[in-house]
Symmetry: C2
Subunit: 349 residues, 2 copies
């Protein structure tokens, strides 16, 4: 395989007996250039498959049309959905997306940032790790004139736009739905106390209970750490074997809810009749499991779109001082795991 020697402006100029700058301008249809010249140059370029050397262009303009994107975990339904939206949107605007993951480890995140900065992305989209507290490793981007947009998991330590979901409202609606269905003792498997989203959801849960004068209990709130299926299983067991077991469980995320469902199935505790279960994030699998799982949809794809659009806007305007907050509404998806009939309702009471 012999590599093609790439055609340059210089080649075109030489072949056509014009100057390099004329060739350059002709290709851009600069108003100063004669129509005929333009036509001639364009035809020649077309014929010989001239492609500008993007490396030279980038160098000259010091930009790359590449956007960095860092998430905690790539193999994760919600984040991959966000990435999907980001990629599609970026593509539409002529940008590429450079993806990296932090594995929820701050040092990995810091390294990823360095690599991104070194490879000269034009801007950064990031959802911070569970370990991240301050944003020192992100400030380098702004210092170099590269805008940052945070999404989903964000920190206030960085002045930047944030695209987030209304976690409070989503949680509130989920719990209100459980209440409306007739469930009386609603438990919550919550996420980490250091993570804002988790706290928002927990507050939404509590507010809904308070607003509807529902019974509350500290025993019904369990703190997840790994936020996985095993924890859902474990805490569900704890709850159901306690003195005052709940009759509904609101889970910080679907994955945890799957663990809950698993335990309940093993114990032959009927969902939704004996107990209602609702998750958060609306994983693809939520509609596939049996019983299908009610959940709060976060519109991940849309989040990817909005964050990317905002970033591209900032890049174009050299805007490094934007701190707009774009809050997406959640969407309650009601499925079998919480549809309690009146009859069963009575049973519970």
């Amino acid at each position: 395989m012999t590599e093609k020697k790439k055609l340059t402006l210089k080649d075109i100029a030489r072949e056509l007996g014009i100057s390099i700058s004329t060739a350059s301008r002709a290709l851009k249809e600069h108003p100063d250039i004669a129509d005929e010249t333009i036509k001639m140059v364009k035809a020649f370029a077309e014929k010989h498959h001239y492609v500008p050397n993007i490396l030279a262009v980038n160098f000259r303009k010091s930009r790359t049309y590449n956007i960095g994107l860092i998430v905690p975990e790539l193999v994760h339904h919600f984040f991959s959905t966000v990435i999907s939206g980001a990629i599609d949107t970026a593509k539409k605007h002529g940008y590429n997306i450079l993806v990296s993951q932090s594995n929820d480890i701050l040092s990995d995140e810091t390294i990823a940032c360095r690599t991104m900065l070194a490879s000269s992305v034009d801007g950064l989209l990031i959802s911070i790790s569970n370990e991240t507290r301050d944003a020192d490793h992100l400030k380098g981007f702004l210092e170099e004139g590269k805008p940052v947009v945070q999404f989903d998991k964000v920190t206030d330590d960085l002045l930047s736009p944030k695209v987030i979901v209304d976690d409070f409202e989503g949680a509130y609606q989920a719990v209100k739905h459980l209440i409306d269905q007739g469930y009386k003792k609603i438990a919550h498997l919550r996420g980490r106390r250091e993570v804002k989203n988790s706290n928002e959801r927990a507050i939404g849960y509590q507010q809904a209970l308070i607003d509807h004068q529902m019974e509350t209990s500290e025993e019904w709130i369990k703190d997840c750490f790994a936020i996985d299926e095993a924890e859902g299983y474990k805490f569900c067991k704890e709850l159901m074997t306690s003195k005052n077991p709940p009759d509904a469980i609101f889970c910080i995320t679907d994955l945890v809810a799957f663990g809950v469902l698993k335990y309940l199935k093993e114990m032959e505790i009927a969902v939704p009749d004996e107990i209602g279960v609702i998750g958060f994030s609306n994983w693809k699998l939520a509609e596939i499991v049996s019983p299908s799982l009610s959940s709060v949809d976060q519109h991940g794809y849309q989040m990817g779109e909005k964050a990317t659009l905002k970033l591209i806007e900032l890049i174009k305007n050299h805007d490094l001082e934007n701190e707009e907050i774009i809050e997406l509404k959640t969407n309650l998806i009601i499925r079998a795991s919480t549809i309690l009939t009146k009859k069963n309702h009575a049973t519970i009471q």
Copy 2:
């Protein structure tokens, strides 16, 4: 936010009263340069946070340390796992990954390729779309001296290394496992006839049946097109309501198997006692559903690693004629959906 004016080699040279090339070489610890000079330059660079302008370096060396990666679907457990492996591996070797998706549409794939080429990736990792037949849109990479490595879904129309899974063997083992468990009438929900992987799995299925003198029937083979849960449900219904229903089903992928499980559950047909179900790909959810789903693990992460390593090797060696085939062994994961006890075995007979 005022942007820092970046320090250049020229600045260092001027400040230190040396030439630019000396500064450049000193930073690279070139053997010609006096230790003292090296120390001095490095100290100065360190102190003033000198960072080489990567755009200039890339331009000069005509390479970017960026690798393109195109998959049919990003929001897909297997592919996101592959990407995860690719990203981690690339990072280790100083490369970034530029991700794009084709949505299984050839024209999208072609556009993605063009964008990747234009943005000057150093090489390409690709798993082709279901629509892709020939590799004309990929040949441009080789023509420009950029190596390509195909993985999972590959075409022989392009001379390139391929990292694939031994689909035949994986399917064979899955079906053999069903036979060993005592299932007698094994059906297969297969994938598209135009897709190599589907055919390999179908052949593995048939060979296992033949080798063990099992009953076969054309009726037991159903062609999936969308390869989703709905199809699993639909075809399972067709199978179970036919004159000669199977007592086990081997599914082209876990997603289809989930649909199968759903139908069986609705009909209260017991898995694994009345019917065994096995999938392919070992999705995260396979162990979460009830009953947990036996599956064939494809080692997606490892596939991402191997493909990336191979590509980096080709990039470094300017090797464009490699057509090595790296075949990964699958791994049979046995779970509840196929563990038939001896007693039940007798029942079936």
